[in-house]
Amino acid sequence: MRRFLCIVMVLMFVLCGLLSVDAMAQETVKIGFITPLTGFAAADGYSSLESAKLAVDYVNEHGGINGKKLELISYDDGCQPDQASALTRKLIENDKVAVVISGSYSSPSRAAAVICQQAKVPFTSTYAVHPSIVEAGEYCHRIGMAAPIQGRVGGYFAARELGAKRIALLIMNNDFGVSLAEAFKETALKLGAEIVYEKKYPLGETEFRSYLNAIKAADPDLLYAPGYYNEAANIVSQAREVGLRCWLMGDEGYDSPKFIELAKTAANGVFITTDLNRDSDRPMTRYFLEKYKERTNIDADMVGASGFDAVMLVSHILNKVGTKADDIIRYWDTIENFEDCATGPIITFQERSAIRPMDIQIVLNNQFRYFYRYYEPEIIYLNPPSGGK
C-alpha cells in the first residue's frame, strides 16, 4: 500500500509540474521566445536569448508596455521541430503570450509558425531565412533579412561594385546557404558574371582544402561562400593557406566576433552582407553593442541583433495597439521607418518580411567596418514597389 501511495505521489508531482500555472500572471504583458540552448545550435540560441533579455530590460526601464512590465518567457527547443511545436502550444495556451518570437533555425521556426497561424497568435522569426516561415499565413512575420534580398545585394556588390566576372560558389547545404546562393547566382548572372565553380558542403564541415584547390584551379575573381561563421572561418583561413588570391565574400552568418577570432588575420579583407552596422552612430545600435558586451563579456553578433530587434519591434507594437492579435497584425503591416532597433532602420514590411537598407561590411584590422550601403528600392525590396525604378 505504501508503495502505491508513493506512486500516486510521484504522479501528483508530475501532474503539478505539467500544470504549473502562474497565479499572478495578469500584471505583466508576456511574450514567448523559443530558442536552442542545447545541442549544436546552442551558441546562436544563447546570443539570441541574451539579446532578447537585453531588449526586455530596455523596454521595462523605459516605462514597459503601457505601464505594465514586459515579461519574456523562453523555452529551449534544442533545434528540434517537434519540441518547437509543443513549446509554442505551451507558450500560447499555458503562458498566454501575446506574441511568439522564434530565435531558432528554420525547421523549428516553420513548425512554430504553423501552430501560431492555427491559433491566430502573432509570430515572428528573427534570423531564420526559409521562405516558408512567413508563407505559413498572415500572422507570421520575419525580422531578419529575407534570403532573396540578401543574396541579391551580394550579387550586386560582387558583379556591379567589385566588377567580378568569374565567380566561384561554395555553398553551405542548408536552407540558409542554398537560398542565398540562388538569389546571388541569379543576380550575378543577370549582371553578366560567370559561375566558374559551384559546390555544396554540409553544415559542420571543417576541411575545405580539396574544394579550395579546385577553386584555385578555376581562377575566379571572387569566391562567394554563404554559410555560418564556424565553417566560414575555416574556409577563409584555408583559402589564404592554399593561396587563393581573389575577393572573398560572405553573408550575415559571418557577422560574429567569433568569425574574426577563429579566422585570425585571414579574415581581413572579407566582405559580408549584413544589416548590423558596427560603425553606426545610431543610439539604439550603440546601446545594443555596448550593453551586450557588458552583459555577456563578448561582442554582439548579428543573430543577437535580430533577437533584440524582434523584442523592440514587438514591444513597440504592443505599446501602440495593445495585446489583441488582430490589432497587432493590422498594425504590423503598416509600420514604416521603425528606428528603435539595433540593425538599420526597418523601412517597412513587405510580404511580412522586414525591409531595411543593406550594408556591406569589410573586415579590416580584425574588425568589421562599414563599407557600402544599398538604398536602391529595386535591390533592397522583396518586390520592388512600382515606379520605384
Binding site: 508503495r3 502505491f4 508530475v14 509540474g17 505539467l18 500544470l19 500555472v21 540552448l37 542545447t38 545541442g39 523555452y75 529551449d76 534544442g78 528540434q80 521541430p81 517537434d82 511545436s85 509543443a86 513549446l87 502550444r89 505551451k90 500560447i92 495556451e93 499555458n94 528554420s106 525547421s107 516553420r110 513548425a111 504553423v114 491559433a119 526559409h130 516558408s132 508563407e135 547545404n173 542548408n174 536552407d175 546557404g177 542554398v178 537560398s179 555544396k200 554540409p202 553544415l203
Partner: protein
C-alpha cells in the same frame, strides 16, 4: 488551458512509441541492433511528404502506399544484415542513417536542404481535424500497432526471430531459415517505423533532412533499451518516459540534457534489461504488487 501542449507532447510520444515498437521487433527480437533507425523514420516521412506535395494525394490515400514503400525500402536496406552481423551491423545501420540523410539533403527531388513544406493535416469527410482529432488518430494507430505486436508476439514467427537472435547457428540447425526471419524483422520494423514517420510528418507539417540525424537514432535505441528490450510494454513505456522526461526537467532548463544524459547512462548500467523489461525494477515492483493483491484477495 495546457490541453494543447499536453496533447501535442502525447501525440509525439505516441508516434515515437509506434516507432519503438517497430525497432523492438528488429532489435528486441532478432537482436539486430539498429543505430540508424532515423533512416527508416525519414523514409516514411519523406515518402508521405512526396506523395502529398508532388502527387497530390491525401493523408488516407497516401498512407497505404507509403507503408508499402517503407516496407520494401526497409527490406532493401536490411539486405546488408545477411552479410554482416553484430557490431558490423551496428555500424552499417549508422552508415545507412548518414547515407539517407545525405541523399535527402543533396538531391533536389527530395527537396534538398530546403526540405519539403506543406504537408497538411489529414481530413475526415472533407473536414479538417484539430489537434485533438490528430491525437486520436495517432492514439488509435498506436493501439493498432500494440495489438498487432501483441498478436505477433504470440506467433511462431516471434519465437523463430528470438531463436535467430540468441544463436543463429543453433536456430539454423533447428530448421529455421534465419535469413528469411531477419528480412521479415526488417520488413515489420520498417513498416511501423514508416507509419511513425508519416504521422510525424503530418503533425509537423514539414520535413528537413536534419530532422532525421544520427542523434535521433541514438535516442530511439535509448528509448527501447531504457524501457526494456524485447517487450511491448517496455517499448511503449520507454518511448513515453524518455520523450516526456526532458519536459519535466524544464525548470532546470540549462542543465536538463546533462541530467538526461547522465541518467540514461546510469539507468542502462544499473538496469541492463530496461526498467520495465524482464526482471527490471518496475517490472518486479508490479509483479510483487499483483502477487500481494492476489494474496489479500485469497485471505478475504
Amino acid at each position: 488551458m495546457t490541453f494543447g501542449y499536453i496533447l501535442s507532447i502525447a501525440t509525439f510520444a505516441s508516434i515515437y512509441a509506434i516507432l519503438i515498437l517497430g525497432l523492438n521487433i528488429l532489435t528486441g527480437y532478432t537482436k539486430q541492433v539498429s543505430l540508424g533507425h532515423a533512416a527508416f523514420f525519414a523514409i516514411g516521412a519523406y515518402t508521405q511528404a512526396l506523395l502529398i506535395t508532388k502527387a497530390g494525394l491525401t493523408f488516407w490515400s497516401a498512407l497505404p502506399l507509403t507503408i508499402l514503400l517503407s516496407m520494401i525500402i526497409g527490406v532493401v536496406m536490411g539486405l546488408p544484415s545477411l552479410r554482416v552481423s553484430d557490431d558490423f551491423l551496428v555500424l552499417t545501420t549508422i552508415g545507412l542513417n548518414f547515407i539517407v540523410m545525405g541523399i535527402t539533403e543533396y538531391f533536389d527531388f527530395f527537396g534538398g536542404a530546403m526540405g519539403i513544406i506543406g504537408i497538411t493535416m489529414p481530413t475526415i469527410g472533407g473536414k479538417s481535424i484539430g489537434t485533438t482529432g490528430y491525437f486520436l488518430i495517432t492514439l488509435s494507430f498506436l493501439l493498432l500497432t500494440i495489438c498487432i505486436c501483441y498478436l505477433f508476439s504470440k506467433t511462431w514467427g516471434r519465437l523463430a526471430m528470438e531463436a535467430t537472435g540468441e544463436d543463429e547457428d543453433a536456430a539454423q540447425s533447428l530448421g529455421i531459415n534465419t535469413s528469411i526471419y531477419k528480412m521479415y524483422a526488417f520488413a515489420l520494423s520498417s513498416t511501423f517505423t514508416g507509419l511513425a514517420g508519416v504521422l510525424w510528418a503530418h503533425s509537423i507539417g514539414s520535413v528537413f533532412p536534419r530532422n532525421f540525424s544520427f542523434e535521433m537514432s541514438v535516442l530511439f535505441l535509448s528509448m527501447l533499451v531504457f524501457g526494456g528490450l524485447g517487450t511491448i510494454r517496455g517499448a511503449v513505456f520507454g518511448a513515453f518516459v524518455l520523450y516526456i522526461l526532458p519536459e519535466f526537467f524544464r525548470f532546470i532548463e540549462n542543465y536538463r540534457m546533462l541530467v538526461y544524459g547522465g541518467m540514461l547512462a546510469m539507468i542502462v548500467i544499473l538496469q541492463p534489461n530496461g526498467i520495465l523489461g524482464r526482471g527490471g525494477l518496475l517490472d518486479r515492483c508490479i509483479l510483487r504488487l499483483v502477487k500481494k493483491k492476489a494474496e489479500t484477495q485469497e485471505i478475504s
